[in-house]
Amino acid sequence: MRGKISRSKSSAKHTHATIGMILPLYIFTLIFVACPLLYMVALSFATPGEVHGVQWIFTLDNYRKILEPVYLNTFVQSFQLAITSTLFITLIGYPFGYFMAKLPAGGKKKAMLLLMLPFWVNSLIRLYGWIIILQKKGLLNFVLKKLDLIQKPLKIMYSYPAIVIGMIYVLLPFMILSVYSSAEKLDWSLVEAARDLGASKAKAFWTVSFRLTLPGLLSGVILTFIPSMGLFFIADILGGNKVVLVGSLIQDQMTRGNNWPFAAALAVIMMILTTLMILLYRKVTNAKEVEGLG
């Protein structure tokens, strides 16, 4: 609401000078965001060349092709994986972010540092680290065996759980940070007010704290669900080609398949799904911007 008002006010005040200052931003956005997107949409309606390249002949075949069982199945699989990953990430990330916001100032800083630390290392390298942990003679099996919890080493590497673990690992910080930023803003006197008005601790959490941190949770869901359909390198490295994600498919069509129009059509569908999710988020939370992104 507030954002809307201030925006309309400022646009009324636009003078030539301010337009001059904003212009570079518009040009930049036009060249590097709008143009590539338009190119991608146009490409998705073009015909792939006989050997490689693109023939600019209008067709809907690229979209029709998505409905073929092989490709449709990729979408279903990606969705399933995204749902599973997001579920685990929510279960771990929500309490983490919520209680992090309750820490004293010093504790918050430390937790934030620990959370940011992995970002300073390339995510590919970090994923290779997981291979060392998860492989047959890896750290995890070693520890479990020493504790006498298992007889034979677990085969986690190159399986579905390995991909889920990878997804959780890479995407968890986004959930934690968006829940945290929402819980940080929560006025704890509201919780006290609920308690004062007759709510038990659980009831006060549910009716007030949870309700008011829901925007953070939902934006966390968006920030994890969408990438987890597309992070093909996780599926490649930890899953060993067992699961093909939409992201993998796009990459495949771009490189080996040499079918750019089909890749573009897939990307357009992904973009539409993402947009729908953000619209849904806005409807549920009444927020104009996604928490933690805004």
Binding site: D187, E192, A194, D196, L197, A199
Partner: protein, 347 residues
Amino acid sequence: MNKLIELKNLTKNFDDQQVLRGINLDIYENEFLTLLGPSGCGKTTTLRIIAGFEEPSGGEVLFNGIEISKLPPYKREVNTVFQKYALFPHLNVAENIGFGLNLKKMDKDVIAQKVRKMLKMVGLEGFEKRDVTLLSGGQQQRVAIARALVNEPKILLLDEPLGALDAKIRKQMQIELKKIQQEVGITFIYVTHDQEEALSMSDTVVVMNNGEIQQIGSPTDIYNEPENRFVAGFIGESNIIEGIMIRDYLVQFDGFEFECVDKGFEDNEEIEVVLRPEDLDIVEPSQAKINGVVRNVTFKGVHYEILVETELRTYKVQTTDYAEVGRQVGLKFGPEDIHVMYRMGAY
């Protein structure tokens, strides 16, 4: 009147800091009681202990004679109006007010009816569907009061509820709060650092400082008969003068003896005297014992505030008569204007 709350030797420590140092206080049914003191005096902590948000480190909290200091807030027949109202931003006015009733699983129609009645009482009829975040401070305040009172508590706790309002609405809300309290006929425990607010609304004022109660009494008692230098200094403006109580009804200060109306002190006890600025009159030097020179005159609207420098100190005088700077004047006051109090440690 029945005793509703008894605080017995209440103490509270936060880490190694002692915030309450033995509070003993009885609160009665239908009483408007104000905890008054500077910030950090322990008034809010006392309130939060009664509400159940803090557990005392020592001592007892009795409610109708039953110890309740371990009882969680939602099991107490007490509701709170918070400093910044703490209205739920995701609920509208009616949902905010009905929050407590909803938790009690009350019938929807009954809730709607009670909410309407409350809105009428606080003067917000027809506001049911409004967004609480778009209300003015005064309106939010009224919603907060309605939200607490709709649960029919035995006691309403108010934690500096007018602190965020501007002066004009404050005055208006003071009158309305008092009216509401008389209308619902329950005990109000009110926390404030504003002495004027305390004096104008309360039946009983409890002056606190440094985790201790300084004085308990009616607004007139507190103002006219402050028990010590702290109370006299905190409530209203005053001239505080060290003196000696020669015997009952005779006090000596500034080198003169004065008749007074106080008794019950020991003969020749060292005491302090309060002279309220509005009780002092400026007269010709020959008509008064204490003489001095006018050093400063400030126009305050209703009266002038005049600083008179005497041999030993500077007196503050509030009078409607003008006296120009540099004039030799006498300070006149009657026996009933002298308030004698016990001398306390360094302040």
